[in-house]
């Protein structure tokens, strides 16, 4: 059930910082995440299908990403890793790559985003 909880937190961040891009919201959630569970122990990953509880080791970023989300910290991230590209710049970039030099305004009504 991670996705619905994180989606709710993303909405809270967007409410506090309405000008945050999706990348900025993701940055706030990731950089403030914790490597420890709520009993203070390292997050563990199960390493086998048979007896998974007996075959555990500390989780790597490939198991857990940045860790467990921390709602309070994510609402006050301090630093952000953001992208300087706006959505329009990005769409122009795609359109240029797909079909040559198009102006976004000529086709924007046909782009479903």
């Amino acid at each position: 059930m991670a996705a619905p909880h994180v989606a709710g937190l993303a909405a809270l961040i967007k409410q506090k910082f309405p000008n945050f891009s999706p990348a900025a919201i993701g940055s706030a959630l990731s950089t403030t995440a914790s490597l420890y569970d709520n009993s203070g122990k390292p997050i563990m990953a199960q390493r086998s299908y048979p007896s998974p509880e007996l075959n555990q080791s500390p989780a790597t970023p490939f198991d857990m990403g940045s860790g467990f989300v921390n709602a309070t910290a994510a609402l006050n991230p301090g630093l952000l890793f953001d992208s300087s590209k706006s959505l329009n710049e990005l769409l122009n970039h795609y359109i240029y790559n797909v079909y040559g030099n198009f102006n976004i305004s000529e086709i924007s009504t046909t782009v479903a985003v």
Binding site: A23, T31, P61, G67, A73, L79, S83, V98, Y99
Partner: protein
Amino acid sequence: MEILIFQKFQQRLQYRLDLNCVNFNFLFVGYDDYMSFLCGINGSASTVLDYTGQNCLNFNSTGYGSDLNLPSITIARLNQSRVVQRTLQNIAENETYSVGWSSPYGVSVKVSPTRFSLANGERQVLSVIFNATSNSSTASFGRIGLFGNQGHVVNIPVSVIVKISL
């Protein structure tokens, strides 16, 4: 004819947007960057061709997946050394950060600067220098921590898969 081309264009645009919406962060970095990242994984070419229909020969150019300004660093194949840059923006009040890190096994990591001060809204570029110190194709993991004197802690997971030293 024009209508046909336009329909085809719409299909390709939609396809590309769908692919990039898989990860919101990738929405901001572009299809080709993502392809270069996938193709940079050792031996991925046939899988990439199966799933995307794209030939990796067209994507082995300059772009590294690790150049995306994400709050993490992943290097699929570290051939001796690589410099990765990240741009940070301070959205809180004035703060001085000190930088600490742990290197992945088989890799030496240096981050500069190790200390910086930012006012609200200011940006700082962080350079991370990776050097392979052993040969391995087993993933290893490290971490970069930015510790602010006003209590903010910013963590960046670091992963290096294939390491090739001299």
